[in-house]
């Protein structure tokens, strides 16, 4: 017997229902993982070797790309604002404009997005491959808690490294901005530095660091969640990596909005 063709309204409702269930599953899964992380945080239980390996992989390997990104971000900020600075002759505000926007917004967001694309995607792919090749079950069979052994070092590492990379990235951005202002706009570097020191406050710098910590945590949790829930072989790993990068990007912008709203 031919299968009955459902009316269009029923198919639309089915589709909406499916999407809703999918999102609920992901949100529930992330919430449960956050709960598991909290349970393992006090007292902290980190595997030294796994933490060290991730520190190297996440921090050292990300350093060059973050430096290049930050240099260009600083330069772009100066070029973008340079047009108006020259128009009004407000050369003393160039450092403030670049520093304020880099410290508070552009630095953490750009580095966060780079971090989620490089580190988060890599993490999801690694955990996803472990999942589909039964390595996660093998850990459980060895009486080793995958959250404690795999997730905790990654969360710790991503928070610490995101923080440090944003600190480094902020200053490299200013260097890029100062160099661009000197060689492209003819604004002396010392005037640029004076402008940063005079007009940009410690609170602006810290504002960006709060975001770095929040973004690091979000990227870690989301990438681990999608990795640990991978199914369907190589295709499934690809799907999880995709979902992880999209999820991390959404989380970065939501957290950015919330922190900006609360700390302004």
């Amino acid at each position: 017997m031919a299968s009955e063709i459902k009316p269009i309204w029923q198919r639309v409702l089915n589709n909406i229902g499916d999407r809703f269930m999918g999102w609920s599953f992901e949100v529930g899964g992330v919430s449960l993982l956050v709960w598991e992380i909290m349970r393992n945080t006090f007292p902290p239980k980190l595997d030294g070797e796994e933490t060290w390996r991730n520190m190297y992989k996440v921090g050292v390997k990300s350093f060059p790309i973050v430096v290049v990104t930050a240099l260009l971000v600083g330069a772009i900020m100066v070029i973008q604002s340079g047009m108006y600075i020259e128009q009004y002759g407000a050369y003393g505000l160039l450092g403030w404009g670049a520093g304020y926007s880099v410290f508070r917004e552009v630095g953490p967001i750009m580095i966060g997005l780079m971090f989620s694309g490089r580190v988060g995607a890599n993490n999801t792919a690694e955990l996803g491959t472990m999942k589909v090749t039964d390595q996660i079950d093998a850990l459980r069979a060895l009486a080793i808690d995958p959250v404690r052994y795999l997730v905790m070092p990654r969360v710790f590492t991503m928070i610490v490294m995101m923080f440090l990379l944003v600190v480094v990235g902020d200053f490299v951005s200013l260097l890029g901005g100062a160099a661009t202002s000197q060689y492209l706009l003819g604004v002396d570097m010392t005037l640029f530095a004076w402008s940063v020191i005079t007009y940009v406050s410690l609170a602006d710098f810290l504002h960006g660091l709060y975001k770095a910590v929040a973004f690091g945590f979000a990227i870690a949790v989301i990438s681990c969640h999608f990795g640990l829930n991978t199914s369907g072989g190589a295709v499934g790993v690809g799907r999880s990596v995709n979902a992880s990068v999209v999820g991390s990007a959404i989380a970065i912008f939501i957290l950015d909005y919330l922190i900006t709203y609360l700390d302004t």
Partner: protein, 249 residues
């Protein structure tokens, strides 16, 4: 009293009914083989023992203790006593062979890193992989990885070991070595082994008892002779590897 007991195990994945009421009992120190076609539910059944899969219905007992409803945390002591060698080795790609084997020692034994690595090396030597200790799993084929997985499973000196197709993909000499090791563990250390295998040479070489699963149910549970002498056409077809017969492929 049986060491391991499965009582009326049912398990379905979606609308695929894999196990349809399996009853099995494994005696202490036995080398117990579970055989059957691919997809018969052998791996699914043994994973229930250490809680990697939960049954839809039925109970599982280990030394008379019901382990069916234990939480993940409560299962850890069970998993330390009952090791498993997975079908596809499941070595950790990011670690050297030595670190793979040392991991459970590092996590569960009160020893320093150097001592853990020394103990791990002993286990690697036991399976003939000592000289490759610093190499990575990706450098080897299935057979050699499987030997390392066996070494890793033995690190905590378990009372029970589940071997999921331990000789598949291994050359005949290494397969004979694995068989000898399983027999040795039973005869000299009292280790109870559940072995899932299609390897007739292993099955009729070292099995104390054999159980055959067919269509999610237990078809026969008996000795090597019971199987050889069985007049059940399905069993005979399986043993002889005849593509023609009543067994649905």
């Amino acid at each position: 009293m049986a060491s391991i007991e499965f009582q009326g195990i049912y398990k379905s994945f979606g609308n695929k009914h894999v196990l349809r009421g399996v009853d099995l009992a494994v005696e202490p120190g036995e080398v117990f083989f579970i055989i059957g076609q691919s997809g018969a539910g052998k791996s699914v059944l043994v994973k229930h023992l250490i809680g990697l899969i939960r049954p839809d219905q039925g109970r599982i007992f280990l030394d008379g203790v019901d382990v069916t409803d234990l939480s993940e945390k409560e299962l850890y002591p069970v998993r330390k006593r009952c090791a498993m060698v997975f079908q596809n080795s499941t070595l950790f790609d990011s670690m050297s062979l030595l670190d793979n084997v040392a991991l459970p020692i590092r996590k569960h034994k009160d020893v320093n890193k150097k001592e853990a690595r020394e103990q791990a090396l002993e286990k690697l030597k036991l399976v003939g992989m000592g000289e490759y200790k610093d190499r990575f799993p990706s450098d080897f084929g299935d057979g050699m990885r499987k030997k390392v997985a066996i070494a890793r499973a033995l690190t905590l000196d378990p009372e029970y070991v589940i071997f999921d197709e331990p000789t598949t993909g291994i050359d005949p000499i290494s397969a004979a070595m694995v068989d000898k090791l399983i027999r040795h563990l039973a005869d000299h250390h009292g280790v109870t082994s559940i072995v899932i295998s299609h390897d007739l040479r292993s099955i009729f070489g070292i099995a104390d008892r054999i159980a055959m699963l067919y269509q999610g149910k237990l078809l026969l549970d008996g000795t090597q002779d019971d199987f050889k002498n069985s007049d059940n056409p399905i069993i005979q077809q399986f043993i002889t590897g005849n593509p023609e017969g009543p067994m649905e492929v």
